[in-house]
C-alpha cells in the first residue's frame, strides 16, 4: 500500500518587493519560501491513513523543484512520511501546472501508488490545476477540493465530501486508485517534532532528472507563459494632521500638486 503526496514549495512576498528586470516576476530576494499551506493538510491526511493502518502503508512525498525545494520536501518528511522524490531540470524553470502534472504522471507510472493526494491549490499562483491535470494524464478517477475523506489503506473505494459553489457539498464514492486534491481544514495538520526534523534529514530522497523519467524538455514546455507581472496602481490617501493652519497649508499643497501647478 502506497500513498503518493505531491507537494509544492511556494513563495511569500516580503512587505517591500521589487519586480525582476525582465518584468515577468518578483525578484528572487524578495521571497520567503515555504511548503504550500494546502500540502500540510494532504500530508496529514496521508499520515492519518498510514497510522490507521498501523503503519502498514508507505507515504511518498514528491516535489518538482530545484535544490531550494528540498526544504519543503523535508518539512513534509519531518511529519513522518517515509521517503521523497525530487525532480528537477533547468527546462522546468518556468513549468506551469500542466507541465508539472506531466512529470507527476511519470512518477505515478514509476511508483504505482494506490492513492495520490495533491493540495487543492497552491498558495502563490492558485491555479488549482495540477491535481486534476495529473488525473487527466493518467486517466484516473479524481475529485477536487476534498473536505472530508473516508478511506482505509488498500480499500478499493473511498467515500468523500467535496465543496461546491454556493456552500453546497457533495458526497461521492470514488474508485481507487484515484487523484484527490485536498482542501484546507480537512484535518488538523500536526507539527513536526525535533526528532521528526532530525530524522527527515536522513530519509531517502531520490533526485531525478527529466531523462530519468524519459521526458524531453519539449514535452514539459509550459502551456502558458507569464508576459508581465506588475502592481496595479492604487488610489492614495493621506491623513492630514497638525494645527488648522498647517492642515490648510498641506491641503493647498496637495491641490496644487494634483493640478500640476
Amino acid at each position: 500500500m502506497k500513498i503518493m503526496v505531491a507537494v509544492k514549495q511556494v513563495a511569500f512576498l516580503d512587505d517591500e518587493f521589487e519586480i525582476r528586470d525582465d518584468g515577468r516576476d518578483v525578484g528572487e530576494d524578495f521571497f520567503e519560501k515555504d511548503l504550500n499551506e494546502f500540502d500540510h493538510f494532504s500530508v496529514e491526511q496521508a499520515m492519518l491513513i498510514k497510522e490507521a493502518a498501523g503503519g502498514d502503508a508507505e507515504v511518498v512525498i514528491v516535489i518538482v523543484g530545484d535544490e531550494d525545494a528540498d526544504d519543503a520536501l523535508r518539512t513534509a518528511l519531518a511529519k513522518g512520511a517515509d521517503r521523497g522524490i525530487r525532480v528537477w531540470d533547468d527546462a522546468l524553470a518556468e513549468a506551469d501546472g500542466i507541465a508539472v502534472a506531466k512529470v507527476l504522471a511519470k512518477l505515478v507510472e514509476r511508483e504505482k501508488p494506490d492513492m495520490v493526494f495533491t493540495g487543492a491549490q497552491s498558495a502563490d499562483f492558485g491555479s488549482a490545476v495540477t491535481g486534476m491535470a495529473l488525473a487527466g494524464f493518467l486517466g484516473w478517477p479524481h475529485a477536487a477540493v476534498v473536505s472530508n475523506l473516508d478511506y482505509a489503506s488498500g480499500a478499493r473505494t473511498a467515500t468523500l465530501r467535496r465543496e461546491l459553489e454556493g456552500g453546497l457539498e457533495e458526497i461521492m464514492t470514488i474508485r481507487c486508485p484515484a487523484v484527490l486534491s485536498i482542501q484546507l481544514g480537512i484535518n488538523q495538520p500536526r507539527y513536526a517534532s525535533l526528532r521528526g526534523i532530525k530524522q527527515a534529514k536522513q530519509k531517502p530522497v531520490d533526485e531525478l532528472s527529466l531523462d530519468d523519467l524519459g521526458l524531453s524538455a519539449a514535452e514539459v514546455a509550459p502551456a502558458s507563459r507569464v508576459r508581465r507581472m506588475y502592481a496595479p496602481e492604487r488610489g492614495k490617501a493621506e491623513l492630514i494632521t497638525g494645527s488648522a493652519a498647517e492642515q490648510a497649508a498641506r491641503l493647498a499643497e496637495i491641490i496644487k500638486e494634483l493640478r500640476g501647478m
Binding site: Q188, S193, L194, R195, Q199, G242
Partner: protein, 732 residues
C-alpha cells in the same frame, strides 16, 4: 535593507539647542528611579548608557539629592552630596558621553516629603506642615538665613554636577518637591516676601534658578521640572493661574522647561498607569507652556508611538519628547524609529511595575516587557545583543505564555534551534485573558512584541518552529520529541477550592465545579452564568480581584468583596490604587476588609474579622488556641461566588518528567527545567525574567538555577570619600 521611516518622523531627529548644549534629537530620557542612585555606579552607568547607545539625545539620573538634609531612605535616590558621589556619578556621564548623548541630573530637595531616616536631619520648608506623603515627617519653617543656605545647597550641588560631567542640571519642582512647595499655597502659608502673592511664592524658585544659572549656566543647560498643575483645583497650583505666571517669571532663567502635572502623594496622575491613562494624557495641561514661553519645552506622557510624538511636536505642544517608562521598556526605541523598524519596538505596557519597586523602597527596578532592565551591569545583559549559542542543543519550550515566549525568543536570538509549543492558537498564555479586563488592553503589547519577534525569528532559525494550536504534550510525547533540553512553562491556575494565603487550606464548601462558584479562568471562558449578587473572595494582593470586581459591577452585578490581604494592595506601589479606589466607589462595590471566610454554604458565605480573636495571649494547653476564640462571624448571601483566593502551578508535566529522569538519557534528553508560574506563581515581570534568564544561561551546568550576578556593595578597607578614613574611629 532600505530605511522605511516615513518622512513625517524626521522632525523627531532634528537637533535642538538647549542653552549652551545641543541635543542631537528630540528623545529625552526623563529622570526616573532605578534603584541605583550613586551607591551602585555600575548599574547607574550601564543602564543609562544602554539608552544613550539606543539613540536617546539626553538621559538623566533619577532624582538626585543635593544635600543630606534631603534623604529619602528607604526609597533610593541618587545623591550628589560630596566628592565620593561625584566620583561614582562620573561613571555614568563618561559612559553616556561615548554615544553623543547629553547627561542630565535632577537636583532634588524633598523638604517634608523626605523622611531623612538615614541622615536623621531635619528637613526645611516654606511653612511647617506634616507631609501628606510621609505622614510621620514635619519640616522646619525656613527663615531668610535658612533660605539662603538651602539655595546654596542647590548651587553647590550644581557645581559638583558640572564637575561630575553633567551637561544639564534640572532644578526639580515636580511631584511637590523643592521650589514647588514654595509656589504652592497648599504648603506655603508665609506672610513675608516669600509668601502670599504668586510673585512672592515664586521668589524662592526664581532666586534659586538665578543662583544656579550664575554658577553653572555657561557650562550646563538649566532645566526645571515643573508640575504645572497639581490637579486639586484652587487648593493647589493650576496651570492657567499660578502655573503660567511662574513660567513667565522664570522663563529667562531656564534653557528648557520640563513640564508635568500632579504631586507626590498621587503621582500616578503623572506616571499614569495604562489602566487609566493613554499616551499624551498630560498634554491638555502641558500644551499651555509653549504658548507662553520662549524656551523649548519637554514633557512626559508615556509616549510610545512615533506618530503621536511627531504630531505633538508639529502641533507645537512640546519640543522634545520625554520618556521614562517607554525608555525602560525599550532603550533602543529612538534608534528603531530612526531605522523605520517600528515593529521591533518593545512597547511599554504601562503596568508601572518599574515604579512599584521604588514605591516599595529599595529593590532594583524591574520591567515587565524588558527583562534586561536593571540587569545591564550585574548580569551583563544587553537588551538588543545576545551571546551566540554555545552548543548545537535543540530546545523544546512548552507553553507560549509570558515566560515560555520570552525563553523561546531569546533562545532563537542566540541561534538555538527552538520549538515553542502551545495548545492555544495564540502566543500570550493567560495574558490573553488579562488583556480583556477593564483598562488592561495595553498589557497586550507584551504578547504582541513576542508574537512579532517569534514569527521573524522562526523564519531566520532553520528547523525552529512555533507550534500553536498543537496537541497538549504528554510526558511520553516530550520524551520522544527529540529535544536535547526541555523548558516547561505551563503556567498556573486559580484555586477552585479556595486555597489561600491566610489559612493555606481550601475553604470548606467551596467547589468551582458547582455552577455558581467561579474561578477567574471560568469567568474568562464565559461558560457559567454570573448571578446578580456576586461575592468575591479575595486573598490575592494584586489586580485580579479589583479588575473582576470592576468588570462585574460595570455589567450590573451587585459586588461585595470579602478581602483578607488588602484589596489591590500591590496597586498602591504601581500607582493604580487611587483611581482604582475611585472606580470601586463609583461602582458601589462593597469591600469588607480585614476579613476572611470560614465556610460556604449554598447561597451564603460565613466570614469573620481577622482581628476578631482575643488580644491577650496565654498558654492554654495543647489543642487550644492561646487566645479568646474569634466570635466575629457573620453571613452574607450570594448568587455567584468568585474565587480569587490563590494560584497553584500547573506543573504536572514537569513533575511527570522529573519522575521519569531515568528515561532522559536513552531519549537523549540532557535536562528538563521549569520556569514562570509553573515553577511558582509570580508577577508577569518575574515570569518574563525567568524565561529570559534561562535562555541566557541554557548551556550552564544547571540552567534551572541562576548564575551569581555581579554585586555592587561597598568594599571594606576603602573610604568612600577621597582622603577619608575607613577604619572605626571614636569621637572621645
Amino acid at each position: 535593507m532600505a530605511n522605511n521611516r516615513p518622512a513625517k518622523y524626521d522632525i523627531l531627529f532634528e537637533p535642538i539647542k538647549i542653552g549652551p548644549k545641543t541635543m542631537k534629537n528630540r528623545f529625552h530620557q526623563s529622570p526616573h528611579c532605578i534603584g541605583a542612585g550613586s551607591d551602585k555606579p555600575g548599574f547607574q552607568a550601564a543602564h543609562r548608557a544602554v539608552k544613550a547607545e539606543g539613540g536617546w539625545g539626553a538621559v538623566n539620573t533619577e532624582y538626585c539629592s543635593i544635600h543630606p538634609e534631603s534623604d529619602d531612605t528607604m526609597r533610593v535616590s541618587a545623591r550628589i552630596w560630596d566628592a565620593g558621589d561625584v566620583h561614582n556619578l562620573r561613571a555614568m556621564t563618561d559612559a553616556v558621553h561615548k554615544f553623543d548623548c547629553l547627561a542630565g541630573i535632577e537636583l532634588w530637595y524633598g523638604g517634608a516629603h523626605a523622611p531623612n531616616m538615614e541622615t536623621r536631619q531635619t528637613p526645611r520648608g516654606p511653612s511647617q506642615f506634616a507631609s501628606e506623603f510621609e505622614t510621620m515627617t514635619y519640616c522646619h519653617e525656613m527663615d531668610h538665613a535658612d533660605i539662603k543656605q538651602v539655595q546654596q545647597y542647590y548651587v553647590d550641588a550644581a557645581l559638583r554636577a558640572r564637575d561630575a560631567g553633567f551637561d544639564m542640571v534640572n532644578v526639580y519642582g515636580g511631584h511637590a518637591y523643592g521650589p514647588l512647595q514654595w509656589l504652592n499655597a497648599y504648603y506655603n502659608r508665609r506672610t513675608d516676601k516669600y509668601g502670599g502673592s504668586v510673585e512672592n511664592r515664586g521668589r524662592f524658585w526664581v532666586e534659586t534658578l538665578e543662583k544656579v544659572k550664575n554658577a553653572v549656566g555657561d557650562d550646563c543647560a538649566i532645566a526645571s521640572r515643573f508640575a504645572i498643575d497639581t490637579l486639586y483645583g484652587s487648593s493647589g497650583v493650576e496651570v492657567e493661574e499660578d502655573g503660567l505666571k511662574m513660567i513667565k517669571m522664570a522663563d529667562d532663567l531656564v534653557d528648557v522647561w520640563d513640564i508635568n502635572v500632579g504631586d507626590i502623594a498621587q503621582w500616578g496622575e503623572d506616571a499614569g498607569p495604562s489602566r487609566f491613562y493613554r499616551q499624551g494624557h498630560q498634554l491638555p495641561w502641558q500644551k499651555f507652556v509653549k504658548q507662553h514661553s520662549k524656551k523649548p519645552v519637554l514633557g512626559v506622557g508615556r509616549f510610545t508611538d512615533p506618530e503621536k510624538m511627531a504630531e505633538v511636536i508639529r502641533n507645537g505642544e512640546l519640543d522634545i519628547i520625554s520618556c521614562a517608562r517607554p525608555s525602560i521598556s525599550d532603550p533602543f526605541m529612538p534608534q528603531k524609529i530612526k531605522e523605520g523598524r517600528l515593529d521591533d519596538i518593545r512597547t511599554c505596557i504601562g503596568c508601572n511595575v518599574c515604579i512599584s519597586r521604588w514605591e516599595i523602597g529599595g529593590p532594583p527596578m524591574i520591567c515587565t516587557q524588558n527583562a534586561t532592565s536593571g540587569e545591564e551591569y550585574r548580569r551583563s545583559w544587553h537588551p538588543e545583543k545576545f551571546e551566540k549559542a554555545k552548543s548545537k542543543d535543540t530546545i523544546l519550550v512548552i507553553g507560549a505564555g509570558p515566560a515560555g515566549s520570552e525563553a523561546a525568543r531569546v533562545l532563537m536570538e542566540r541561534g538555538y534551534v527552538t520549538h515553542l509549543v502551545d495548545s492555544a492558537e495564540k502566543v500570550g498564555g493567560h495574558l490573553n485573558d488579562i488583556t480583556t479586563l477593564p483598562g488592561l488592553g495595553e498589557w497586550g503589547y507584551h504578547r504582541d512584541y513576542r508574537e512579532v519577534q517569534l514569527e521573524k525569528l522562526v523564519k531566520k532559525n532553520r528547523d525552529s518552529q512555533l507550534a500553536l494550536g498543537a496537541k497538549r504534550l504528554t510526558a511520553d510525547a516530550v520524551l520522544s520529541y527529540g529535544a536535547d533540553k526541555v523548558i516547561i512553562a505551563t503556567g498556573s491556575s486559580w484555586s477552585g477550592t479556595g486555597v489561600n494565603a491566610l489559612t493555606h487550606d481550601p475553604i470548606p464548601g467551596v467547589d468551582a465545579r458547582k455552577p455558581n462558584h467561579v474561578t477567574p479562568e471560568q469567568i474568562f471562558a464565559g461558560d457559567k452564568k454570573i448571578g446578580k449578587r456576586v461575592v468575591l473572595l479575595n486573598a490575592d494582593p494584586y489586580f485580579m480581584g479589583p479588575s473582576l470586581a470592576e468588570m462585574l459591577a460595570a455589567k450590573g452585578h451587585d459586588v461585595t468583596v470579602i478581602d483578607g490581604v488588602g484589596f489591590g494592595r500591590y496597586m498602591h506601589f504601581t500607582l493604580e490604587a487611587p483611581n482604582m479606589h475611585r472606580r470601586l466607589h463609583e461602582l458601589h462595590i462593597d469591600v469588607i476588609g480585614d476579613s476572611w471566610v470560614s465556610k460556604v454554604e449554598e447561597g451564603r458565605v460565613e466570614y469573620y474579622n481577622v482581628w476578631g480573636e482575643g488580644s491577650r495571649r496565654e498558654y492554654r494547653g495543647p489543642g487550644v488556641l492561646p487566645r479568646e476564640e474569634n466570635r466575629s462571624h457573620k453571613w452574607v448571601e450570594y448568587d455567584t461566588l468568585v474565587l480569587v483566593t490563590g494560584r497553584q502551578s500547573d506543573d504536572s508535566l514537569f513533575r511527570d518528567l522529573k519522575a521519569r529522569k531515568d528515561e532522559w538519557a536513552k531519549n537523549d534528553i540532557k535536562g528538563v527545567y521549569v520556569i514562570g508560574d509553573a515553577w511558582a506563581p509570580k508577577i508577569l515581570a518575574d515570569s518574563t525574567f525567568d524565561g529570559h534568564r534561562i535562555a541566557r544561561e541554557i548551556e550552564d551546568a544547571n540552567p534551572q538555577l541562576p548564575l551569581p550576578y555581579k554585586r555592587e556593595v561597598s568594599v571594606w578597607g576603602t573610604a568612600y570619600q577621597p582622603g577619608g578614613e575607613h577604619k572605626q574611629e571614636w569621637r572621645i
